[in-house]
Amino acid sequence: MKVLVPVKRVIDYNVKVRVKADGSGVDLANVKMSMNPFDEIAVEQAIRLREAGKADEIVAVSIGVKQAQETLRTALAMGADRAILIEATDDVQTDIEPLAVAKLLKAVIDAEQPGLVLAGKQAIDNDMNATGQMLSALLGWSQATYASELDIDGDSAIVTREVDGGLQTIKVSMPTIVTVDLRLNEPRYASLPNIMKAKRKPMDMKTAADYDVDISPRLEITATTEPSTRAAGIIVASVDELIEKLKDAGAI
């Protein structure tokens, strides 16, 4: 079975995010970029499936700027077999919207015919949490989101989902789209031999135009603001005082 893993280049989770002076978005110039952490988990899971003999090829796909090559190279160094880069913009500030990404992925999937798509549940930059679901609708495939456990059993996937009330286990028919959550696994480091091998693994360079997909934006960002800073707390001397303060604040 072939597994397709979409990976997104996002601002590194350690970077302190700064809003641009004109409020048009987050400043990405000269900022460390990395693979979306949920996508790393997806790559790791694909590798584990291959190690368990349940997958035989892992294809990583990234859509965005040319620099997303580095993100794909990381996926290859972790263990993906080959990569496809779809250059869709040359501006690092431009975010390709979920619907456009889903349409491009559908085009790749039509050509590649994978048995499973493993995606992150969301990208940590815009937190859209939409691409996997949209892709499922476009393809007419089953979907299982927020996966914290995944097992492939013949023509079905058994997925444990992290839902508000607890854990839910569902069985979906293959081919399917699984979006992965934080607790599914702990991604490996790229080993030094694999880093050295990554360069020799194939990477297809495409552009959005190659797929004849309309990627023009449908959303308009009207403002981006810093989260409000938390007001300083106070230290109370006793439990009685705490209760009093909570009552004053209408909290109890």
Binding site: S34, Q69, E70, R73, T74, A77, Y189, A190, S191, L192, P193, N194, I195, M196, A198, K199
Partner: protein
Amino acid sequence: MQFGLTEEQQMITDTVRTFVEKEIYPHEALIEQTGEVPHELAQEIKQKTIDLGFYACNFPETVGCAGLNHLEFALVERELGRGSMALNHFFGRPQNILMACEGDQIDCYLMPAVRGERMDALAMTEPGAGSDIRGMKCTALREGGDWVVNGTKHFISGADHADFIIVFIATGEDQTPKGPKKRITAFLVDRGTPGFTIRDGYKSVSHRGYKNMVLEFDDCRLPDAQVLGEVDGGFAVMNTWLYATRITVATMSVGRARRVFDYALDYAAEREQFGQKIGKFQGISFQIADMITEIDAADLLTLAAANRLDAGLPANREIASAKLYASEMLSRVTDAAIQIHGGMGLMDDYPLERFWRDARVERIWDGTSEIQRHIISRELLRAMGA
């Protein structure tokens, strides 16, 4: 001229950085408190490094290692330099002088060392012979086909964890117009060899948990098979293999300085006095500007020296400049970082006092700053006949 890193070099850097952040940083406070690295933790770090194929990555592919070039290895050590020396010791980088092993030594020392099965240390310094290595008193005398060694080495890093030690010992003396001159030989000495003791050394202000040990030889018998390189060829193996090790100090200083800088930058951007961020005061902001300028300069100097080695160019002076400048830069940067933090900089709530203490040794070991200046100036002046 090419200043960028290749994709592989960037990935190597990122991987080691992440490793240090996830596997080293969380244990640093424990090492500071106890001054000891728990055995299981040491083994865990070592095993993870082996699994990642980074163990002994300074060794060539011919012995089953990654064969990183000098520049790539400098990038690895730059990231390691961010973390505790006591812990990153187990991200093993055996002395590449072991490539001088021959015959049975290959299976006994070289291969187990690069596989992480046996750990090494290297001993030159003695209580009476530091910068002046030739002044060493530790002597091996011929007796019935063997060598009998007597003397003391001190300040030997990592000897507490070492299974064997590469020891430089005087094996004779030549009379020269400038007076007597010691002949020196490198020996491979196993822990547990009769007449050889490894004992605790001094408590150092720098790098808690990265111990320096005292080695004592008391009529210790070593057969010829323990000679590394040629008899009386100690300086030859030293010059071939230890030439580049000063890059380690330079590049680790750069890595640590960047970590320290991030603390200083954050504090300057957050701490308020007189109703404004202290970073708004020119007295603070100019310090920030000077710090990053010096860090970048040291980084370039170091990578350029490593690059010269890879290009097969003479690099003795350039390595000395990098070691000198980067280690002195680290002292200035850690000092400024503490100044920016005010009193909190001295408290062990922040790791800054540790970085400040740790920085001090970099100007001393692997050749003091004065010795580096000596190397740099001698090379320039000797060519002028001075």
